[in-house]
C-alpha cells in the first residue's frame, strides 16, 4: 500500500517533522488563515443560497418600507435637519440592522451549530489549531461577509438614487465596524449557551432592538427615559452613525458612536478570549 511508502523512513517527511517542532501557547498556533481558507472553500461549494438571502433581506425591507410606506410618509428630516425621502432615511438604518443581524447570526447560531451539531470545531481542535485561531478565523469570515453585504446594499442605495454625497462610501467600513462589535460579543455570549431555548433569548433581545432603535422613525417620539434606554443600546449608535455618514454630516456625536463600537469590540474580544476554554474545551 502506498501509505507504507515511507516505511523506510519512520520519522516521516521533513515537513511534518518541522510542523511538530514549532512552539505555541495553549490557545493559539498563528494559523488563522487555515480557518479562513476553510470557510471560503465551504462557502464556494455550498452556502450560496444562505449568502443571497442575507443580502436580499435588507433590500426587500428597503423596497417595501422605503418605497411603499414612504409614499404615505413623504419627506422627513434627516440628521442635519434637511428634507430627505423616507427611503433615504431608513436605508442606512437597515444597513446597520443587517450588519448586526449577520454578525450576530454568524457568531451565535452558526457557532452554536458548528460546535454542538456539525462537530466542526471538534475536528479542528484535534489538530494544531488552538481555540483562538478558530475564534479569530470565524470572526474574520463574519466580517468579510458583512463587508460584501454592505457593499451590495450601498450599491443598491446608489441605484435607487438614495446616495447624494461621496461620504456615503464610508458606510461600508462603518458597517464592518458595527459587525465587529456584535460578532466579538456574540461569540462570548454563545459560550454561556447550552440549549436551543437559551439561544432563543438572543432573538428576544435582537428583535426589539431592531424595531425601536430609531430605525423607522426618530428617537424624539419617545419620552426622555425611553430615549436614554435606547441610546444605551448598541444598535442605536450604529443607526445614527450610518445615517450621519449617508448624508455626510458629522457632529461630535459621530465620535461617540464610533467610540461606542471601539469599546464594544475591546470588551467583546476580552470576553470571548476569556471564555475560549469554556467555549471550545469542555
Amino acid at each position: 500500500m502506498s501509505i507504507l511508502s515511507e516505511s523506510h523512513n519512520p520519522g516521516g517527511h521533513s515537513v511534518t517533522e518541522a510542523a511538530r517542532n514549532r512552539h505555541f501557547g495553549p490557545m493559539y498556533s498563528r494559523n488563522v488563515r487555515a480557518v479562513i481558507a476553510r470557510g471560503l472553500m465551504a462557502t464556494k461549494s455550498s452556502n450560496w443560497m444562505v449568502m443571497l438571502s442575507g443580502f436580499f433581506e435588507p433590500v426587500l425591507y428597503l423596497i417595501s418600507m422605503g418605497v411603499g410606506l414612504g409614499a404615505i410618509v413623504g419627506a422627513v428630516h434627516g440628521p442635519g435637519g434637511q428634507e430627505i425621502s423616507y427611503a433615504a432615511y431608513i436605508a442606512p438604518a437597515l444597513l446597520a440592522v443587517s450588519a448586526m443581524n449577520g454578525a450576530v447570526y454568524d457568531s451565535t447560531w452558526n457557532v452554536f451549530f458548528k460546535m454542538n451539531f456539525a462537530k466542526l470545531y471538534q475536528g479542528m481542535l484535534y489538530t494544531s489549531l488552538g481555540p483562538l485561531d478558530v475564534a479569530m478565523g470565524e470572526i474574520f469570515l463574519a466580517l468579510l461577509r458583512g463587508l460584501l453585504y454592505a457593499t451590495g446594499f450601498t450599491a443598491v442605495m446608489g441605484v435607487m438614487g438614495l446616495i447624494t454625497t461621496p461620504w456615503a462610501i464610508l458606510m461600508i467600513p462603518a458597517s464592518v465596524l458595527i459587525a465587529f462589535g456584535f460578532a466579538s460579543f456574540g461569540m462570548g455570549i454563545t459560550s454561556f449557551m447550552k440549549t436551543f431555548q437559551q439561544m432563543d433569548w438572543i432573538n428576544f433581545v435582537m428583535l426589539p432592538m431592531f424595531l425601536f432603535s430609531a430605525t423607522f422613525y426618530p428617537l424624539s417620539v419617545y419620552p426622555q427615559s425611553i430615549q436614554w434606554l435606547i441610546q444605551a443600546m448598541p444598535l442605536w449608535h450604529g443607526v445614527e452613525l450610518l445615517r450621519q455618514i449617508s448624508v455626510g454630516i458629522f457632529t461630535p456625536a459621530t465620535a461617540i458612536h464610533i467610540g461606542y463600537y471601539l469599546v464594544m469590540i475591546v470588551l467583546g474580544v476580552m470576553l470571548t478570549a476569556g471564555r475560549l476554554r469554556k467555549l471550545f474545551l469542555k
Binding site: 500500500m1 502506498s2 501509505i3 507504507l4 511508502s5 515511507e6 516505511s7 519512520p10 516521516g12 517527511h13 515537513v15 511534518t16 510542523a19 511538530r20 514549532r22 512552539h23 505555541f24 501557547g25 495553549p26 490557545m27 493559539y28 498556533s29 494559523n31 487555515a34 480557518v35 481558507a37 476553510r38 472553500m41 465551504a42 461549494s45 455550498s46 452556502n47 456539525a118 462537530k119 466542526l120 471538534q122 475536528g123 479542528m124 481542535l125 484535534y126 489538530t127 494544531s128 489549531l129 488552538g130 476554554r277 471550545f280 474545551l281 469542555k282
Partner: protein
C-alpha cells in the same frame, strides 16, 4: 523505557459525575495500547484529555513530554485522532477534507496534494475524491476519517471505537491497516468494547469500568490471570437459567449465571459438559469455547461489556 504517554491519577468530573476516577498508565513508543470497557466507562473522556480538548480535574498527564493543557497545539501536532463519531467537514468534498485538515497543522500544499492522493488510495476512496461527504456510506466515512487522521504522519494515533458500526469485512481491512501503521512504529491508543478487536490489536490493555482501572496486562496474561482456559456455555431457557445454578454446583472452577445462559469456567470444557450430562441435566444448547477478554470483564465487574 521511553514513554510517549504518562498519566498519573488522571481525574475528570462533570458536576457530580466522576467520568474518570484517578487512573494511571504509561505507554511506551510503538505500543498498541487499549482501553477496554463498556459505554460510559470513561474511555472517550480519557482520549479527550490526551488530545488536550478536555481539561482534567486533577492528576497529571504528559504526551511526548508535554502537558496537553498548556501545550495543546504542540501536543496535537504529534497526534492523529479518530473520534468515536465521524466529524468530517460536510461542507467540503472528500479530497478537500484531507487538504484542509492538513492546513490546520500548518502543512504546505506542496506536501499535502500528493499526500492526500496517497491517503485516498490507502482508504480506497480514490474514485470518490470529488464526491460530497454526505454521499459516502458509513464505512467510507470511517475510512476517510482514518485517512484524515494520518495527514500529519502522527507519532501517536488515538482511535476511539474505530470499527463501531462497520461490517466484518471493513473491520478486517481496517485492522490490517492499523497493524501496518504499528509496524512503522506508530503508537496506537485504542478504545473499544469489542473483545476480538482488543485481542487482535492490543499489545497491552487496561480494563476500565466506572472511571477506574480494573486490570492491566496483555490480552493473554489477563485471560490467564482472571479466567480459565475454556468456558462451557449452557442455555436452559430463561426460566430455568436462574434456578439451575445449585444443580450445577461443583462442576468446573467457577459458575456465572447470566439472564440468557449459564457459564461454567473449566480447564477442560468437554469434560465439564460430560459431568453436566452425567447429572441428568439437558441444556437446550451447549457450547465449549476458549476464554476471552469478555470473561475477564465479566469476572471483574459482574456484567458483560455490551449491555
Amino acid at each position: 523505557m521511553q514513554y510517549v504517554i504518562t498519566a498519573e491519577n488522571l481525574t475528570k468530573t462533570y458536576g457530580d459525575v466522576t467520568a474518570v476516577d484517578g487512573i494511571s498508565f504509561s505507554v511506551p513508543a510503538g505500543e498498541a495500547f487499549g482501553l477496554l470497557g463498556p459505554n460510559g466507562a470513561g474511555k472517550s473522556t480519557t482520549m479527550k484529555m490526551i488530545g488536550g480538548v478536555s481539561q482534567r480535574t486533577s492528576g497529571s498527564l504528559s504526551i511526548m513530554g508535554l502537558d496537553p493543557e498548556s501545550h495543546g497545539p504542540e501536543v496535537r501536532a504529534h497526534l492523529g485522532v479518530v473520534p468515536q463519531q465521524d466529524n468530517l467537514d460536510e461542507e467540503l468534498r472528500v479530497r478537500d477534507n484531507l487538504l484542509v485538515y492538513g492546513r490546520y497543522f500548518g502543512l504546505p500544499m506542496s506536501y499535502l496534494r500528493p499526500k492526500a492522493d496517497e491517503l485516498l488510495e490507502f482508504a480506497q476512496l480514490t474514485d470518490k475524491a470529488k464526491s460530497k461527504v454526505d454521499a459516502l456510506s458509513g464505512g467510507m466515512k470511517r475510512r476517510l476519517t482514518i485517512a484524515r487522521s494520518l495527514i500529519n504522519e502522527p507519532r501517536i494515533l488515538l482511535l476511539d471505537e474505530p470499527t463501531t458500526g462497520l461490517d466484518p469485512q471493513a473491520r478486517h481491512i481496517l485492522w490490517d491497516r492499523l497493524f501496518r501503521l504499528k509496524e512503522q512504529g506508530v503508537t496506537l491508543i485504542l478504545t473499544t468494547h469489542y473483545m476480538d478487536e482488543a485481542e487482535q490489536l492490543c499489545d497491552r490493555l487496561i480494563v476500565v469500568d466506572k472511571g477506574r482501572i480494573m486490570a492491566e496486562g496483555s490480552p493473554a496474561s489477563l485471560i490467564r490471570e482472571y479466567s480459565t482456559r475454556e468456558v462451557l456455555e449452557l442455555r436452559f431457557g430463561s426460566e430455568r437459567n436462574a434456578t439451575i445454578g445449585a444443580e450445577l454446583e461443583g462442576i468446573g472452577e467457577r459458575l456465572e449465571t447470566l439472564p440468557d445462559r449459564v457459564l461454567i469456567y473449566a480447564h477442560d470444557g468437554e469434560a465439564a459438559l460430560e459431568q453436566v450430562s452425567a447429572r441428568g441435566l439437558r441444556p437446550v444448547t451447549s457450547l465449549v469455547r476458549r476464554s476471552s477478554l469478555e470473561d475477564v470483564f465479566l469476572r471483574l465487574t459482574g456484567r458483560s461489556l455490551v449491555d
